[in-house]
């Protein structure tokens, strides 16, 4: 059951802290996916703090899979905030001898599937949801996918199968920032769009909202009809929150230098 006390202003404040935390981590490693994490922060935050049932019972708690594994920092800082992922692990992100790396690994506290290669999460979710249905479990599976990930054929196999198998308990949130590694999707693959109609044609409920508006995300998901699985297209800005990163492909994987770091922190704090 969704959290009835979810508050968008608090979510905004948390995401501001999360962005700052990710920038801090960026100063300890050579390279990391900052812009992909900033792009999906509000989506991830709203799932964890607004939508998921997290009572601590592994048999009934909702599941979250970050299918766009390269956005892992968004999930790691959230899990740290929730006390699930020890801060010590995040302090030693990508350090020799420590287990936390660029992509989420199954077995890490709070990580329910290994991701990093795109196009895997939705297939896993279909299997999990089917097992839940068979075992009479009352729980939802949330995923965050990237829009580039929707270019993988495996995603469409899963989109076809889930509603055909009567699966309703999947909510897939797509980080629709219109950027892939090498440039702007609408220019590279114009026929990627329209997306909403494609997904609806596969039998899913589909909506499009501002992916940085936590309240809009929360409202859309809590008001879903629940007779079909849902895709939420969250329109986002890659690198959201730091002007020089926004929609600039190099920030897919670059780490800011000390001067860039100071600028970025200042912007986040003043936002």
């Amino acid at each position: 059951m969704a959290n009835p006390h979810f508050d968008a202003a608090t979510s905004r404040e948390r995401c501001r802290r999360f962005r700052k935390r990710i920038l801090d981590i960026s100063q300890t490693v050579g390279a990391l996916h900052i812009a992909p994490a900033f792009s999906c922060l509000e989506l991830v935050d709203t799932v964890y703090f607004g939508l998921m049932n997290r009572s601590g019972n592994p048999e009934s708690d909702d599941t979250f899979i970050l299918s766009k594994g390269h956005g892992s920092l968004a999930q790691f800082v959230t899990l740290e905030e929730l006390g699930i992922l020890p801060s010590e692990q995040l302090e030693n992100y990508c350090k020799p001898g420590w287990p936390l790396a660029t992509h989420p690994d199954y077995g890490t506290p709070g990580i329910e599937a290994s991701t990093g290669s795109l196009g895997h999460g939705l297939g896993l979710a279909v299997g999990m949801a089917y097992a839940d249905k068979m075992n009479g479990k009352d729980r939802d599976i949330y995923l965050v996918l990237s829009d580039g990930e929707l270019m993988e054929g495996s995603v469409w196999e899963a989109l076809m199968v889930a509603p055909s198998f009567g699966i309703t308990r999947i909510v897939a949130l797509v980080d629709l920032n219109d950027f892939q590694s090498l440039g702007q999707t609408s220019k590279i693959l114009p026929n990627f769009y329209p997306m909403l109609e494609k997904i609806r044609a596969f039998g899913w409920e589909a909506v499009e909202v501002d992916g940085h508006d936590s309240q809009a995300i929360y409202n859309a998901v809590t008001r879903r009809n629940k007779t079909r699985p849902m895709v939420l297209l969250g329109k986002t800005t890659k690198g959201k929150g730091v002007t020089y990163m926004e929609n600039v492909p190099v920030w897919h994987y670059r780490s800011p230098n000390p001067e860039e770091y100071r600028q970025a922190v200042k912007q986040i704090e003043e936002s």
């Binding site: 599937a113 297939g123 279909v126």
Partner: protein, 310 residues
Amino acid sequence: MRNAFANAFYELAKNDRRIYLVVADITAAAGVASFQKESPERFLNVGVAEQMMIGMCAGLALRGCIPFAYTIATFTIYRPFEQVRVDCAYQNLAVKLVGVGAGVNYSTLGGTHHAQEDVAIMSAVPNMTVLAPCDPAETALVTRESIRVPGPVYLRLGKAGEPDLTSAADPFRFGKIRFIKHGADACFLAYGPITKMALDVAARLERENKKSCAVVSVHSLKPLDEDGLRQVLSQFPAVIVLEEHAPTGGLGPRVKELAWDIAAPCKLKSFSLKDEFIHVYGSHADLLKAHGLEAGLIYEDVCRFAFASN
């Protein structure tokens, strides 16, 4: 073999609701047909979508189920290889990957349907167990054991009509090499349906050359029974590996590694498929012959290399 699998699967799944069969529009008859009829909710046809088949299996396994994926070997593991590697092996999940008609069994269907390098590929994947029974009875035994393996398993099967080779064999011990015929002058190591060819060559060597030959079924290619193989390499004056698999990455190279490591005193030779896609067709036997695998050819070769001085 596929019916032996199907019947063993049926017996397992009847009593264990964790077991599912996920297929990609190709299924088995016999016990699987009964299973589909009696437990349709655990028989899942995802359509011609092999990535989905394996991803779904991994998702089921993440929830504690024991899913079997079933189709022609090339489509079980090649088409969805990344799902096999990442979803199943990287996460070390109890998914059982059943590949039917491995090797060049689907002879006239051509290279698209020939899994001739599957053992090499699957053995190279960490956490993977690779099993290849030699006959229907061993298929049933291996299928039953596979659900006790906590991680992913690749079950490499033949197709239909394979003869029984193990009625007089030593008792089956999972993961251990198994003598299906004893002998003293030479030992054949084989796996899968081609083990029959090893038995035929061994019989002729006994009949015509008075050489007593052992034949061993190596049903577990990973983990490999290295101790058992070292003993064979130490005890027999001649060891012959026969496999329906590419020359790279199969049993032959592994046995040669072991032989080198222990400075084995035996003569050692391996027979395999060629490192080629062969564009001539015919029966399974015709395809094997085109690859150089034929009882008469192997008999002559073994006579020359193992028993020439006699």
